[in-house]
Symmetry: C2
Subunit: 353 residues, 2 copies
């Protein structure tokens, strides 16, 4: 299988290197051949080529079986008014590869539940899978200025087809879990949300009568996540609401350092392309190069890559188990050590291997 | 002073009645005359007239000095596809009265900090004033359908003038507090946010050099609120982000039952109109009529009404002190009793009086 690596900026290269060690170990152990090639994205790509997603990178990604991304961005490229910005690379790769679904599992580890900002009795047992629409909504709506530049606009827009495919994907995942789907919108105010809600209701009624559907307003959901996170199974929502809610929810486990994500499009087997796997945390430029970065989220991404990208569920589970065992055994990088003794990026990976 | 009461739906009438008792006591004690008149809004107005904000209500509000609102909405009027909906009344009154600024103080009471879903060491000492833009953004953008109804859109839009006035108001409030302003946007993706950010930077530099300004992305802010809420003083943001973030933040104190809000426009003294004061919580139809509703948020709204609506800061402080003393003395309606002994709506007000 061909895997493209997009290390990116800050700690990106360090943590991707560790995931590569794990992927190589899986190849050895299970008798696979992974062909790994590195490509540029983000600030590193801007510095080298002036383009946050150079044509070579995009072409390599398009012909890959799966993509592993580290992190993108940093203070050097931070000006939101700059005409070339690292996150344009991210938005472009999502759009070009048709990665319409962003999956973010939020399942706090028992061993780390004390690190949660929420009280233990609230967060314990939480197991949510967020499914965020990733190539539509206001992110990709027409935008510009009017009134001689004094008014700025960007259109929030959803089509029936966009809602149908993300809801089908989310409902299918709910079937394999606890059979419940929460759809989040702002249908009391926004026209695209009203379309979202009615399409969701129709698809679920016609195609997933066995999955329990609930509609929740985005403002209410921002509250529910803090007082009854255990009540949710799969949560599906649009691009902007998903951006905010998944980041809010990412605080529940008490560390970003263990949260993977997958961005999926139409699978290869159905005429589509590769999925992209990346940790939720950022490029952490403050600790880049210090050997302190936590590689576990990226290693968990490689597990998602094995399962959802290459169709190797046994291998994925082996990696996940190794990570959980290491954490349960007390292996802690500085970010999750709560001031106690900590290991380096490489040592954490050694423990997993 | 003329005060219009908009009791609305569910527990609305019950809690507004208690705030009226407090306002009458203030009038007595401080020698004021408050002329109180009741008007219809929301579901109650739909049932009576077919219109969630009848012309009579709007006219009365326009000529009032301040408006006190209970709550709007309920399962009876819940269908987001209905052509007439209670929240249209809310959106219309905001727009018609030019209530461009929604103020929501989030300051957990020490006596109730145990009720917070967050760990005490994180939430203790939090004192944030949210300033949400309330008459612009995607809420009031052009909306509709295309492609024979198969695509829905709504435009997110901000003008320089809209951003200037809300930032000035927020920065002025920061001056009277800890002198720090956090502006929240999504400038890495949205054009209206890029305008928001550059206008904010300019206004702050030119007019408020003494107030410390920080820009934060909305997804990052959703995280910060859960791990370092104490770090924020005044937070200013657009309509949609404000809707989500203020609701998230409203969980921090552990009960919605004590959170007031004020929606302000250009003040009367500068040619504008009245402010509108309403609790953050909803109409709680499940407990309407049981005598269990917590009136304290609405009573705290009457304090904001006295201060920000009628220019009576001494009277406002007296009411706030009475509420805090009652809570400190152990007065608890069911929602904040944590299963312990509780008082009724009327008894809670008696304690404040
Ligand atoms: C960097 C940014 C464009 C991006 C987004 O908003 O989608 C990020 O926040 C994310 O969630 O992956
Ligand atoms: C009811 C709804 C239209 C309203 C809003 O979204 O503004 C409410 O959530 C609020 O925050 O006052």
């Amino acid at each position: 299988a061909r895997i493209v690596l997009l290390p990116g900026d800050g700690i990106g290269p360090e943590i991707v290197a560790q995931a590569v060690r794990v992927l190589n170990a899986v190849a050895d152990r299970f008798g696979h051949t992974f062909e790994l090639t590195e490509q540029l994205i983000g600030g590193a790509a801007i510095d080298a080529t002036g383009d946050p997603l150079p044509a070579d990178s995009l072409a390599a990604c398009k012909s890959a079986d799966a993509i592993l991304l580290g992190a993108v961005g940093g203070p050097k490229w931070d000006d939101p008014n700059a005409s070339v910005r690292p996150e344009q690379g991210l938005l472009k790769i999502r759009k070009e590869l048709g990665l319409f679904a962003n999956l973010r599992p939020i399942k706090p580890l028992d061993a780390l539940v004390d690190a949660s900002p929420l009280k233990t009795h609230i967060v314990h047992g939480t197991d949510i899978l967020f499914v965020r629409e990733l190539t539509g909504g206001v992110y990709f709506g027409e935008s510009g200025r009017r009134d001689g530049g004094k008014t700025a606009y960007q259109e929030m827009v959803y089509s029936e087809a966009e809602v149908e495919r993300i809801v089908r994907l989310a409902a299918g995942l709910a079937r394999g879990r606890d059979g419940r789907l929460t759809s989040v919108d702002k249908a009391n105010v926004l026209e695209p949300s009203r379309l979202w809600r009615s399409v969701t209701s129709r698809v679920m009624k016609e195609e997933f009568p066995d999955v329990k559907l609930e509609h929740v307003l985005v403002d209410a959901m921002a509250m529910h996540l803090l007082v009854r996170p255990r009540d949710f199974d799969v949560v599906v929502t649009g691009n902007l609401f998903g951006d905010i809610l998944t980041d809010e929810a990412s605080m529940l486990p008490g560390s970003l350092g263990l949260l993977p994500s997958a961005s999926l499009g139409v699978p290869r087997s159905e005429g589509g392309g590769p999925g992209l796997f990346e940790p939720i945390h950022g490029s952490a430029p403050d600790i880049a190069g210090t050997g302190k970065a936590n590689p576990l989220a990226t290693i968990l991404c490689s597990a998602m890559l094995l399962r959802d990208g290459l169709g190797l569920p046994g291998e994925a589970t082996a990696v996940e188990r190794a990570v959980h065992d290491a954490v349960a055994a007390g292996v802690r990088t500085a970010d999750i050590a709560a001031g106690g003794p900590s290991v380096t990026t490489v040592e954490a990976t050694d423990a997993v291997l």
